[in-house]
Symmetry: C2
Subunit: 275 residues, 2 copies
């Protein structure tokens, strides 16, 4: 009895870790049965406990797929209340005049370099696409990369990095010209040819959207690869769009940077996802 109790504790702890490290991945019951040298019926009971706790704590959904090809799959999500807290915290951190940079730009590299913040942002966007079949997350170098990596981590899919320059280590590339919305200059972006398969479902993410030109360029890039655009998510958007050409997108914050002050308010995320 004591031994059994220990075994269950051991299994629950290790299964939690195993599943958290492999979101959106189907793990067969037999895998766990073999791993812990336990009966499938015990594993089923474990999963019932895990499912209940994950739900009660707002950790995510533990799906159970019955049958011979079945198993369990962990889908991390964030609940409205916690998402609201994350957004409020971001807004609070962003609304600081020390972030103001000449030209109405905003310093946010510290936020994009904090693993704890990135984990929350990743979970937030992964929640939005919980039930959609995302094959890859796309972003543009440099500051979009941490966002893409975090979202991709929670969706457990690859991320690809579009670049402003063409680097030799990318091999052959596909290049796209786009109009930079804020400057009306023509700019170029490139993506390694090997990085996306035709028909892939692509989620675009970025740190900051001003005119929307860069995001527009990435949408053209998705088209150039004959891939499908699933959605666009940005951490912050500026409040001065003056003719943004992007249709549907999600933002966590709306940021106003003028006259040496930075003021931040909620973007459309909470309203869009939870209402």
């Amino acid at each position: 009895m004591e031994f059994l109790k220990v075994r269950r504790s051991d299994r629950l702890i290790d299964m939690t870790r195993y599943l958290l490290e492999r979101p959106h991945t189907l793990v067969p019951l037999t895998f766990f049965a073999d791993r812990y040298d336990s009966a499938k019926s015990s594993i089923s009971e474990d999963l019932t406990i895990l499912k209940r706790t994950f739900q009660a704590r707002g950790t995510g959904l533990l799906e159970t797929i019955p049958g011979a090809a079945g198993g369990t799959r962990f889908l991390p999500y964030i609940l409205k209340e916690e998402a609201q807290e994350v957004v409020n915290k971001l807004i609070e951190e962003m609304s600081s005049d020390t972030r103001y940079l000449p030209g109405g730009y905003v310093y946010m590299s510290d936020l994009l370099g904090s693993p704890a913040t990135l984990r929350k942002i990743g979970r937030i966007f992964a929640t939005q696409y919980l039930n959609q079949n995302v094959d890859a997350v796309m972003t543009i170098a440099t500051k979009g990369v941490p966002i893409a990596q975090s979202v991709a981590d929670f969706l457990n899919v690859p991320f690809v990095i579009v670049r402003h320059d063409t680097e030799i280590t990318e091999g052959s590339t596909v290049n796209v010209n786009y109009v930079s919305g804020s400057s009306t200059r023509i700019e170029k972006m490139s993506l390694s040819k090997r990085s996306l398969k035709p028909d892939a479902n692509v989620l675009i993410v970025d740190d900051y959207m001003r005119g929307g030109g860069t995001v527009g360029g990435m949408i053209s890039m998705v088209e150039e690869f004959d891939a499908n655009l699933i959605g666009v998510g940005v951490v912050a958007e500026s409040t001065a769009p003056n003719g943004r050409k992007i249709g549907d997108y999600t933002s966590l914050m709306r940021v106003d940077a003028e006259n040496n002050t930075v003021v931040s308010q909620p973007g459309n995320y909470i309203e869009k996802i939870f209402n």
Copy 2:
């Protein structure tokens, strides 16, 4: 009795998640006691079980700090056997002629865009610096970023991104000239002035080291900030160093890219860390 059993299971599952998401962070016992409305003695027992399982499964070390200011801290690590597997898998994936690029370069953007691979690489380097006081992880844009983010995630410290260009969104920057080892050209790199505090302990990571010029530049950057260099870790180094000026570093792989073939072998990591 049934209720108590559920409570313990619930606590163990949620504590596992909570601790995994906050590596290297001291969590007071009272925090868990409040969170689960449980006696501190029960939480202590839970931690004993967690510690045993984490150790048995090679997940990491659960430190317990006694006393009023005490608590528990999770230090993720990787054991030699698993690290060896990760390195072997990387070598296998790298050793493909399809990765060869003109000029002896190697395509590895797919590996650097895979969350599962990055998680393993992050755990590997975090193990090396488990007991050292790292304050920040430094890398250079673009392909070093995913490595830095993964290592920083496991050490739970910020990461900072050095750039080849100076971007307006970085604010004031510190600039360093360096000799690119492979080309003997003089190049420039810059880092936002706000991103590092004096005396910070900095770990440098990058995806690929050829001549070592870029890493050398980052070492100069650490000096410019009056910060301390803790170590240098690269995922891959080329086998043709011809006069590399970097002293001590750790590499996971040594890669030979010549005559349209890519051959990979173990770097010095396993030998250095586990022997």
